[in-house]
C-alpha cells in the first residue's frame, strides 16, 4: 500500500518531465513557390523551386521546435494561402514566398499560374495578417516598391522583400536563415546581410515593420526576443530600404 503511494507520484513526475523536456512543435512556417506561369512570354518559368523549399525546410525543420504547416507550389498557390480568408499564412510565424513580382503601374502584385486571372494585390490582404503570423518574406521582384503592402500587418510584425528587379538565388534564404539561427541576428539585420551578400547595387531590398521596436529587436522565434505586437492597430509602418 505504502509502495503504491510512492509509485503514483513518481509516475506523475516522470510523465511531467518527459512532457517538459521533449521538443514541442512550438513554431510553424509555411511556404509558397509560384514558378510556372501559363503566360510564359511575360512570366517565364523560374528555376530552383525544389531547392528553395529544401533550403528553407532544412534550416527550420533542423531547428528544434519548428514544423511546416503547408508548402504549396504553382497551380496550388492561391490567395487563401496569404490569409485572405483568415487561415493560410496566419497559421505560421514565418511565411516564405518565392516567385515573380508584378507591377501594373499603380500597384504591385504577386502573379500566380493563371495570371492575369489569378494574382494577389495588397488590397486583398489589408489588415489580414495577425494571430500567429509574425513575418512574411516576398522573394520576388519589386513587390515592396508599393508600401501599401504594409497595410496587411494588423498584428503581424514584418515584411521582407525587394523594391527592384532581382534574380533567383538559394543563397538568399540560406544566408537569411543562417543569420537568424546560427548568428541569432535580428530579423531585419539578417535580411540586410543576406540581401547584400547575395546581390549587387542595382538590387534594392526593403523591410517594412509595424513598429520600430519590432524592426530593431525581433529575432526568429526561439532564437532571441520578439518585440510585442502593436498595442493598437494604427496606420503607420516603419520602412528601411538599402542598396545590395
Amino acid at each position: 500500500m505504502q509502495l503504491r503511494r510512492i509509485k503514483i507520484p513518481l509516475l506523475v513526475l516522470v510523465i511531467l518531465c518527459a512532457v517538459i523536456t521533449s521538443p514541442v512543435a512550438a513554431y510553424q512556417f509555411s511556404m509558397t513557390s509560384s514558378t510556372v506561369y501559363y503566360q510564359a512570354s511575360t512570366y517565364p518559368s523560374l528555376p530552383y523551386a525544389t531547392e528553395m523549399h529544401n533550403t528553407v525546410s532544412n534550416w527550420l525543420t533542423g531547428t528544434p521546435g519548428w514544423t511546416q504547416t503547408f508548402y504549396h507550389t504553382s497551380g496550388y498557390v492561391d490567395d487563401t494561402d496569404f490569409g485572405t480568408t483568415g487561415m493560410g499564412l496566419n497559421q505560421a510565424e514565418l511565411h516564405y514566398h518565392y516567385g515573380h513580382g508584378g507591377n501594373d503601374g499603380t500597384h504591385t502584385y504577386l502573379p500566380f499560374l493563371n495570371w492575369p486571372t489569378t494574382s494577389l494585390y495588397h488590397s486583398e490582404v489589408l489588415k489580414k495578417w495577425d494571430a500567429t503570423n509574425k513575418w512574411v518574406i516576398l522573394d520576388a521582384c519589386g513587390v515592396l516598391t508599393d508600401t501599401d503592402w504594409g497595410g496587411a500587418l494588423k498584428y503581424s510584425h514584418g515584411l521582407l522583400g525587394f523594391t527592384s528587379n532581382k534574380t533567383p538565388s538559394t543563397d538568399l534564404p540560406d544566408r537569411f536563415l543562417r543569420n537568424t539561427i546560427d548568428n541569432d541576428y535580428t530579423i531585419s539585420y539578417s535580411w540586410q546581410r543576406a540581401t547584400q551578400a547575395t546581390y549587387d547595387p542595382p538590387v534594392t531590398a526593403r523591410v517594412i515593420f509595424d513598429t520600430n521596436d519590432q524592426l530593431q529587436n525581433d529575432h526568429l522565434s526561439g532564437q532571441g526576443s520578439v518585440a510585442a505586437n502593436e498595442a493598437v492597430d494604427d496606420n503607420t509602418i516603419y520602412v528601411s530600404t538599402w542598396a545590395c
Binding site: 518559368s45 539585420y189 538599402w242
Partner: protein, 251 residues
C-alpha cells in the same frame, strides 16, 4: 421626310469627323518612331554598339573577401555623413583594407533613412538616419563587371564611424581573346529569354536604354576562376541603378 435627311446628314458628318480624328494622328506618325521589338517583349531604346569579333577573357589570380559589421547598422543614429563626406571617409577607411583597387569605380552613394510612413495619408511622417552607403564596383579596361563578387560596400554612421564593410573583389589578369557573338545576335537571345539569370519580374515591355560588353562576378563564396564576356542589356528602374539583363557573349 425633311427631318430624316437632316438626321442622315448629321450621322454622316459625325462619322467623317470620327474617322479623321483616328486616322490623322496615325498618318502623321513618323515611320522611325515605331519602337524596335515587340511591346510584349524587350524594346530597344538605344542603338546597338559596334561588335568586335573577339573579346578578352580574364583569369582570376587573387580573391579578396572581407566582411566586418554588426547589427548596429540598423539602429537609428543622431546623424549620418552627407554623400560628399561619405566618399572621403570611405577612401580613408579603405587604406586599412587593402586600399581602393585600381579597377574600382564609384557606383553609388546613398543616405539610408528609416521612414515612419502613414498608409492613410500616404506620407512619410518622420525620417530617422540609419547609415550612408558608399559602393564601388569593378570596371576592367572600361568594361563593367556586374554581380555581387565585384563590389565594395561601406556603411557609415555618426561622424563617419565604420559600421559595416564588405569587400568582394577578384584581381584578374588578361587571359587571351575569345570569339564572341554580335550585339544583335545577343539581342535576339534576349528576346528568346536566353539569359544568364532569369529575373523574377515581367519580361514584357522592357525598354533597353544601354548595351555594353562586360563580365559577371559570382559572389565571393564561389570559386570563380575566369571572367568570360557577356552582353549586358540595361533597363532603367524607377528605384536605383539600371538593371542588367545578361546574355552569354561566348560563341
Amino acid at each position: 421626310m425633311e427631318t430624316k435627311w437632316i438626321l442622315t446628314g448629321i450621322v454622316l458628318v459625325c462619322t467623317v469627323i470620327s474617322a479623321a480624328a483616328i486616322m490623322v494622328p496615325l498618318m502623321n506618325t513618323p515611320a522611325n518612331s515605331i519602337p524596335q521589338g515587340s511591346a510584349t517583349g524587350f524594346i530597344l531604346g538605344t542603338t546597338l554598339p559596334d561588335s568586335p569579333a573577339t573579346a578578352p577573357v580574364y583569369n582570376v589570380v587573387r580573391k579578396e573577401s572581407t566582411f566586418e559589421g554588426s547589427q548596429k547598422v540598423m539602429e537609428v543614429k543622431s546623424s549620418i555623413p552627407s554623400e560628399k563626406e561619405a566618399v572621403i571617409f570611405a577612401e580613408k577607411i579603405l587604406v586599412d583594407y587593402g586600399g581602393l583597387p585600381k579597377d574600382a569605380v564609384l557606383s553609388l552613394v546613398k543616405q539610408v533613412y528609416l521612414e515612419k510612413y502613414n498608409l492613410k495619408t500616404e506620407t512619410v511622417e518622420e525620417q530617422y538616419p540609419q547609415f550612408t552607403q558608399v559602393i564601388y564596383s569593378q570596371q576592367i579596361n572600361g568594361s563593367p563587371v556586374v554581380g555581387p563578387g565585384a563590389e565594395i560596400n561601406i556603411e557609415l554612421g555618426e561622424n563617419g564611424e565604420l559600421l559595416q564593410i564588405e569587400k568582394a573583389w577578384r584581381h584578374v589578369e588578361y587571359g587571351g581573346e575569345v570569339p564572341i557573338i554580335s550585339a544583335s545576335e545577343a539581342y535576339e537571345k534576349l528576346q528568346r529569354h536566353e539569359l544568364l539569370k532569369i529575373p523574377q519580374s515581367s519580361l514584357s515591355g522592357i525598354t533597353i536604354s544601354d548595351v555594353k560588353l562586360g563580365y559577371y562576378a559570382e559572389d565571393g563564396e564561389h570559386d570563380q576562376k575566369v571572367y568570360s564576356p557577356i552582353w549586358i542589356f540595361y533597363s532603367d528602374q524607377s528605384d536605383g541603378l539600371p538593371f542588367p539583363y545578361m546574355v552569354d557573349a561566348m560563341k
